[in-house]
Every structure is written in C-alpha cells, then in structure tokens.
C-alpha cells in the first residue's frame, strides 16, 4: 500500500511534469498586423523589432504590413485567426473595431490591440506606452537648449494621447525655462513625410529652434538638420538620419511586452489586461544623449530618467494650470490615469487652440 502510494505519487508528478513541458513546448504562433511598411523607421519599424524579439525567443511569427484601416483589416485578421495563429497583435488604433469583431468569432485566439480602449470580449487585451514620460525628458532638453524660447511641435491628431504629450513636454520645458512657448502645427497624419516636413518648415520660419514631433517619419529631423535647428527622433533612434539635429530619441520598445504575452499564451496564463507601461517597465526607452548637450544637462537627464522609472518623479505633478489659468492638478498631487487618458485641454504655455 505504502509503495503503491509513493509510486502513484511519483508517476503523477512525472505526468504533471510532462504535461507542463508539453504545454510550454506547444507551437505558439504569433501574428502582427502593421499599418505601414516595416521600413518606415518609425511606428511600424519598432513593432517589427518587437516581433523579431518574439522570434528570437523561439516562437514562430507572421506579419502583414500596409494593412489599411478600411474594410480590409477585418479580412486580414480573420485570415490570420483562421490559419493557426494563437495570438494576434493589431498595432494601429484604427483596427479597434475589426479586432473586437473578429475576436468574437475566434474565442480561442488571443487578440492584443495597441492604443485602443475597447475590450469587448475576454480574449481582447489592449496595450500602450506612457510616451508622455519620454516627452518629459524631451521637454527638459528643449527648454535648456532653446535660445529663441520658441519650441515647435508637429502634432498628428487632437486625441488625448497627443495632447498629453504636448502638455508633458511643455510642463517639463517650463520647469527649466519659464519663458518658453510651445507652438503647435497639426499635420492630421501619422505618416506623411511631405506634410511633416512642411509643418516643421513653418515652425522654423516662426522662430522655433527646437522641433519636437508626434508623427512618425524622419522628414522632420531631416528638415531640422537642413535648417540647423535641434530635433528629437520619434519611435526609433533617428540619429543616423540627422546626426547634428537629433539630440536624442524616444524609442518604442515593444519587444519585452510581446515576448511576455506570447509566453503567457504558450503557458496558458494569458488573461485580459489593459497595459500602460512607461520608462520603468522599459517600454519607453531614451536613446543615447548627443554630445552637443552640456555635460550637466546630460547628467540631469539621466537622473530624471531614473526618477521617472522609479516613480519618484511624475510627469504631471501639480500645480498645473490650463491655458485660462484654471487649476488642473493641485500642488503636491499628480494626475491620475483617468485624467491622463481623457486629457483634452492644453496646459498654460501652449499656444493656440485644440482643433475641434
């Protein structure tokens, strides 16, 4: 009897072990849907870097690039779900409704939608990065490096994500230089090198000597290089496109998250989540700091980076006032995620109105 118990205990352990190994070794396939070409050196490029990290972790991946947000997105998603993919990352806001629609029909496939807010089915998660933390760093650099006290900012669409970035940037710049003004040009595009370059040109003509961007192409940093002003890279390290102009870049680092989620699918531990990671979790990365920046600024930035990562510093710490002088965040308080997610007003120091 005694022996039997031990034997059955051991054999069940072995069985359990085999089952676990089998579950881990299950061939999990991940698919990625991109809005642009993988060679855009911006948004899509960085997602593809993340996909390669998943491959490097030993999983099979598939991607489809240049998928328009029109009726076509749904077909691509369905095809991927139908062809043996276990988890599908949809990497543009416009895929939100198709993602939820297809998720309903494929309850066994996991869907991960970047930058969206709808999780209508238990197999849909959303994820985004706290890019505004990176913009606090850029604002600090811009406020220090500007001589004209006019900072240009090429923005894409007046959504909370972008407004938040403008505010975070301006607050940080004001902190080091109370006299700065942020001028905004709305490009109404995420990726259009021609339009972006024009917007940058307009800002430079208005006296901006540092240009920040919330659009994805390298056209703006190249325009800044030509005009002899400073700029910051967006999404990927854009230093090689404009070595003199680019002071640093805010990189989107999706790899760790992607590997994590695909592993969770493989282990059977995946569950619905709304992820919003920043510098601390490594989803937002600051590239090398250019040597044109004074040494004390560079060390200040390094410290700020560490403090943002540890949570010691928050990008939105009161007192914060809006353009009309109304208090948005009281002294000593920080803005909560709910406020950040719905942020639709400029802070004091930003010029112009939000297009409505």
């Amino acid at each position: 009897m005694h022996k039997f118990l031990i034997r059955s205990f051991v054999s069940s352990l072995v069985l359990l072990f085999t089952l676990t190994v089998a579950a881990v070794a299950k061939d999990v396939k991940a698919a990625f849907v991109y809005i642009g070409p993988t060679g855009d050196h911006g948004w899509t490029y960085q997602h593809d870097v993340g996909r390669k990290a998943v491959e490097a972790a030993g999983f099979k991946t598939t991607y489809v690039e240049g998928v328009p947000e029109s009726a076509d997105a749904e077909r691509v998603l369905r095809q991927l779900a139908n062809s043996g993919h276990d988890v599908i990352f949809t990497t543009s806001f416009g895929y939100m409704n198709p993602t939820n629609k297809v998720a309903k029909e494929f309850p066994n496939v996991k869907f991960e939608h970047a930058t969206g807010y709808k999780r209508e089915h238990p197999n849909v998660s959303t994820y985004a990065a706290r890019f505004y933390e990176g913009r606090t760093i850029l604002g600090t650099i811009a406020g220090t490096m500007t001589k004209s006290n006019v900072i240009g900012y090429v923005a894409s669409f007046p959504i909370p994500e972008v407004i938040r970035g403008i505010n975070s940037f301006t607050l940080a710049a004001q902190k080091v230089n109370p006299n700065i003004k942020t001028k905004i040009v709305w490009a109404f595009t995420w990726y259009d090198p021609g339009k972006e370059a024009e917007a940058a040109k307009a800002l430079i003509d208005q006296g901006a000597d540092v240009i920040a961007q919330h659009t994805d192409s390298t056209a703006i940093v190249q325009m800044a290089e030509k005009a002899g002003v400073y700029a910051f890279g967006q999404a990927s390290d854009m230093d090689k496109f404009a070595p003199k102009a680019v002071l640093t870049s805010v990189e989107n680092n999706w790899g760790p998250y992607y590997v994590d989620r695909v592993k969770a699918v493989a282990n059977g531990t995946w569950s619905q989540k709304d992820t919003w990671h920043g510098i601390g979790d490594g989803m937002v990365v600051i590239s090398d700091l250019d040597s044109q920046m004074p040494a004390d600024l560079r060390s200040k930035v390094k410290k700020l980076q560490a403090d943002l990562a540890s949570g010691k510093v928050h990008s939105f710490t009161g007192p914060i006032y809006d353009q009309k002088g109304n208090l948005m965040v009281a002294e000593g308080k920080t803005a909560d995620d709910g406020m950040l997610a719905g942020m639709m007003t400029y802070v004091k120091g930003v010029e112009g109105d939000i297009p409505k």
Binding site: P37, Y63, N97
Partner: protein, 354 residues
C-alpha cells in the same frame, strides 16, 4: 524576318484578346519577379491567385472587393466612352460616403425601413454633386476635367478628415478620428450568415445591366460612342455636347457615390479617415482592362480584386512583401497599354528566302 505593318482598321478580335494577353503577361512577369526575389514562382502564384478564393469565405471576400471596383468602373465607362476624363472617382466616392454617412448619423439609434433607402440615395446624390463640379467647369469654363476632378479628390479627403476629427466624431470616442457606428437600419443587409458580402452587390449588378442597355440600345449610348470616336463628328451631327458631358459625369459620380455607400454601410459601418483603399483610382485600371464593356468590367473587377486579396495571403503564408499587389496592378495596366499596340499594328513573320 519580322515586319511590323499598320492595320487598315483596329482589329476587333484583338480588342478583346489583349486584356487576356495582358493578364497572361502579368502572370509571367510576376512569376519572374518572384523567382528573382527567391520565391518558388508557381507556389507564389498559387498563393496569390488561387488560395485566397479557394473557400466560401474567400470567394465572398472576392465579391466584396470587386463590388465597389465594378460599380465605379461602370460609371467611369460612361465618361471614358464619351471622351470625358473623370479621374476623380475617389473623390466622388468619398463625398458620396460623407453625405450618406451624415444621413446615417442623423438616424443614429433609430429604426425604420425608410432609413437605408434614404442613406443610399443620399450617397448617390453626394457623388453626383461632387462630379458635377468638374462637369460644369468643363462645359461652361472650358477647364481641364482631368485636373479638376483629380484635385477635388484631395479636397474631399480633407473634408472627411475635418468631419471625423471635429463635428462628427464619436462623443464617446476620446476624440479619435471616427464617427459613431451606424444603427442596423442604416446598414446594408448581409446576404449570408458569417460572410461579409452584402446587398451592395445588387447595386453593382444593376449598374452592369443598365449600362449595357444604355450603351447598346439607346440613342444616348450612340451619341456617347460617336463623341468618343470624334468630337467633331458629334458636333457636326448636332449633338448637344454640354448636356451629355454633364450627364455622363453625373452617372459616373452616382456610381462612385454608391460604391462609397456600400463600403461605409457595409463592412465598415461608420465613417473614418480610411474608407477606401483607393478604389476610385484602381477602378480606372478596371474600366480599361474591361474594355469599357459592362461584361468585361465584371471580369476585370474580379481579376483586380484578387490582386488585393492575393497580396495578403502571399505575405501571410510566404512572407512575400504585401506591396507586390500594387506591382501586379501596375503591371496589368502596363501590359494592357503596351499590347494595345497590336490593335493598330500587326506583326508579320516573313519566311527567309531560300
């Protein structure tokens, strides 16, 4: 010895043969490109042209894709047959979608049998209004309709941008550039459960039948044909040119507008910035590949639609860059234009003298 001789008159057999030749040459050239890129050409072509439509769902997607292309191309054939170069179908599609989308939003969360017909009609009117601009400017101010209609495409997209970012954006949508989802009463019914093919296909088929009737059975069709061959002859015959120009533009605009309606009240179900992957431009290829003949256009729209689907499948299964789909569309047009040379010239093989 090979000699090239001018034909006395364009060959009718060749006229309908060259599109087939163009498709064949595109397949050959496409296979060659795949080979050079290091893919197995036959396997790649299989994933491009056969796999995507091998099942019921794929076939319905093909029809879904071909519907707007066919509808727009039919409309364009009215213009092109009569020597009116409407390049702005994309703009007419967009404006039609704007007007019908606006009407659909008016009926938000309402039910009623009258909603869908109103929405459809609004789209056709929107397209017609937008097409009337180049038509009126051409007839009364002698402007170039190619330029005007093309430039208006960008204007229409900016209007759409403005509306979905601003006044029409979803109040619960965090200001993202999209409207609310239309209510079910404003959406085209699906034909089969689980497939996306919708009642819009009947609009396209109706357009095919009506256009065939107009082209070949009516005086208007005859006038269009004469004007297409020679504007001087048309004038000499006493045709009222201005009226015809405006009419063909209106028809063309209505068709493009309806294609827009089909997209937003069909698979999309709302207005946002990207309602069409350039159907209005691709339909120009379809119209010419179909030889401006209603039946030809049906086949051409299916062929071109498959280049969209095939590109996705080829990327999913073989990691072939998706943009090869556009290369295929370009090649079809190129080979078609090139082989049109055979319409007017024939190649004679002459035996060598012994």
């Amino acid at each position: 010895m090979i000699k090239i001789v001018k034909r006395d008159q364009p060959s009718r057999a060749i006229f309908f043969f060259t599109p087939v030749l163009a498709i064949f040459l595109t397949l050959v050239a496409g296979g060659l490109i795949f080979f050079i890129l290091g893919f197995k050409p036959f396997e790649a072509l299989k994933f491009f042209f056969i796999v995507p439509i091998a099942d019921k769902y794929g076939f319905s997607e093909l029809l879904l894709k071909a519907t707007p292309l066919c509808l727009i191309a039919i409309g364009l054939s009215f213009c092109f047959k009569s020597n009116n170069w409407n390049i702005g179908a994309e703009g007419q599609l967009t404006f039609g979608a704007i007007v019908s989308g606006g009407v659909a939003l008016l009926f938000y969360e309402q039910e009623g049998f009258y909603i869908l017909p109103t929405v459809i009609l609004a789209g056709a009117i929107g397209g017609m209004l937008y097409a009337s601009i180049p038509a009126i400017l051409k007839t009364y101010f002698n402007t170039n309709e190619i330029l005007v209609s093309l430039m208006l495409v960008y204007v229409s997209k900016l209007i759409l941008d403005y509306l979905v970012v601003g006044p029409w954006s979803n109040p619960e949508g965090f200001n993202f550039p999209e409207t609310r989802q239309f209510s079910d009463s404003a959406k085209l019914p699906l034909l089969f459960e689980g497939l996306r093919i919708h009642a819009g296909i009947f609009l396209a088929l109706a357009a095919v039948v009506i256009s065939w009737f107009v082209f070949y059975k009516t005086y208007l069709g005859f006038q269009m044909k004469v004007s297409g061959f020679s504007l001087k002859t048309a004038k000499y015959a006493g045709y009222k040119g201005k009226k015809m120009i405006i009419l063909v533009f209106l028809i063309s605009g209505a068709c493009a507008g309806l294609a827009g309606v089909g997209e937003i009240t069909g698979p999309i179900g709302q207005l946002h910035r990207e309602i069409s992957p350039d159907y209005g431009f691709t339909a120009i290829i379809v119209a010419f590949l179909g030889r401006l003949h209603p039946v030809g256009i049906i086949f051409a729209s299916l062929v071109v639609a498959i280049t969209y689907l095939g590109a996705e499948t080829a990327q999913i299964f073989m990691q072939i860059p998706k943009y090869t789909g556009q290369v295929f569309q370009g090649m079809i047009l190129f080979f078609l234009l090139a082989s049109d040379y055979l319409l007017f010239f024939k190649i004679k093989f002459m035996g060598l003298k012994k």
